[in-house]
Amino acid sequence: MEKAIKRYFPVFVLPTMIAFTIGFIAPFLLGVYLSFCKFTTVTDATFIGLKNYMKVFEDPTFIHSMWYTALFTIVTVLLINVLAFAVALLLTKGIRGTNIFRTVFFMPNLIGGIVLGYIWQLLLNGVLAIFGRTLTYSSVYGFWGLVILMCWQQIGYMMIIYISGIQNIPGELIEAAKIDGANAKQLLRYVTLPMVMPSITICTFLTVTNGFKLFDQNLALTNGAPSKMSEMLALNIYNTFYGRTGYEGVGQAKAVIFFIIVGVIAVLQNKLTTSKEVQQ
């Protein structure tokens, strides 16, 4: 059978591969190459070695945005996962209205980042106006504003994943633990948590990458104001490309560094939490 299918390569694989090459492989390779070049458009690129990379680390806004993003990611990963897990625990107890609550909590996920950013800009600026401040007054407001926004958006999504994880725990396991005299705390610590470890792996992975790659919400909520202090990595890279002429090469070098950071974190995180999963 394999032989019969093999001849159909052009029909089955080629369309996807053409699109994949145009949409992914070519831009990726070109991007890696251009990070070693000086250019304003793709055609006038000249090779300059590692100069772009050196310039990246001389750019204080990049270093700042890196720390800002890292801190943001840590805070949101912790908050979102803890809250989402807590909500999931409570919503699997079979209380009345569970379906409605689930529907409500999940809804913000379907709204796009740009729209979300403007919704929260209105609300947060309204609240801060009481104290005579605005979101762009200091990067601290921008930071926490973005944290609240991200929690609001993502708790529902992670909650759904946790709920399915909790519901997949076999009932006998919990029964057995109860018969052995485990109290609610022990049940959570020694049965529920280890059993939902796969869900925790997925949710931390998603929240980590979402945090690092955050762009739309950042752009809409503060756009980096005041003076690039609330600018996250993705937005910093975007502004380097399209905000400063002559810095396209530096922007591309930043993008490569960004890719490496995201890649390393994704792999490390996956290894770390997967190692804690129990065999079922």
Binding site: V11, F12, I119, I161
Partner: protein, 297 residues
């Protein structure tokens, strides 16, 4: 049937009343707490809705006030929002791009996934590894070069962007499809082939119908992403001719010195309402799709 159900219900109520008095009290308290949280959770959206009927000068000043008297402006904000952004057209293009891209992704990626899960060569293995790789590369890495490549190949239109979304969505989609297709027993396909089906017939008549659950999952995940995507279309599309909804919303911010808050509120509401309706109708599939996607991803 119906009688049985009712009987069951009364039985359950009896059990509730007799055995778990304490627990049900606990449940009521939780229900009340969650009701309050849910209301708060919806508040940001409600706030935008309220402000969409307010005169634009009052929105930033008194965002929490209910529009009454001379603050109230009927549908003025909506009309201005639509006029300024071309929102109706943007809605059409968003629909076109999302539906076109998702359809292309489903058909092309499932075909590709079937091929690479049935034919074992170095090439197919390399494709699979590249798909895994594509899943972790952030868009910023490709952003500049992709917009240039798209420009060179004249893909800066809604038809071209479908091709780009197909290439960009291929990683995750192929990964998910191959995961499922590996579990389909080969005998079914072999039987079809022995009965005289060509591989194309086998795929469309036998394999694709079995793959339906994965199709739903991929559709949900990709549609959520493509519908809301701002950066890719804003860089690739010629935004003077074609806008998607996120671009239309962002367009209100750019270009002018001060933002017309009235038009913004109207536009935001119009951007949210179709999504909420869609969500309430297809909720079951969306939530299932997210769960299935997370398990496999």
């Amino acid at each position: 049937m119906l009688q049985n159900k009712q009987k069951n219900k009364t039985e359950m109520r009896h059990r509730d009343q007799s055995g778990k008095e304490r627990k049900s009290k606990h449940g009521t308290l939780l229900t009340i707490i969650f009701t309050i949280i849910s209301v708060l959770y919806m508040y940001p959206i409600v706030l935008v809705f309220i402000n969409s009927f307010k005169k634009k000068a009052y929105i930033s000043k008194y965002p929490f006030k209910i529009p009454t008297g001379n603050m109230y402006v009927e549908l003025e904000n909506y009309i201005r929002g639509i006029e300024r952004t071309g929102l109706i057209e943007a809605f059409g293009w968003s629909m076109f791009i999302t539906i076109g891209s998702v359809a292309a992704i489903i058909i092309c990626c499932s075909m590709c996934a079937w091929y690479i899960s049935r034919v074992h060569t170095k090439v197919t293995k390399a494709i699979y590894v590249m798909c895994l790789f594509a899943m972790i590369v952030p868009f910023q890495m490709e952003m500049y070069t992709l917009s240039k490549v798209a420009n060179m190949l004249k893909l800066g239109n809604p038809w071209g962007i479908i091709l780009i979304y197909l290439g960009f969505g291929a990683g995750l989609s192929i990964f998910m499809f191959t995961g499922f297709m590996k579990s389909i027993p080969l005998e079914i396909e072999e039987a079809a082939m022995i009965d005289g089906c060509t591989p194309i017939q086998t795929f469309f008549k036998v394999v694709l119908p079995i793959t339906k659950p994965t199709c739903v999952t991929v559709t949900i995940l990709q549609a959520m992403w493509i519908w809301n995507d701002y950066l890719l279309p804003s860089l690739v599309l010629d935004t003077k001719k074609w806008k998607t909804i996120p671009i239309a919303v962002q367009y209100l911010k750019g270009g002018y010195g001060s933002v017309d808050m009235g038009a913004m509120m109207g536009t935001l509401v119009l951007a949210i309402v179709p999504i909420i309706i869609f969500y309430l109708v297809c909720q079951k599939y969306i939530i299932e799709g997210v769960v299935a996607g997370a398990v496999k991803g």
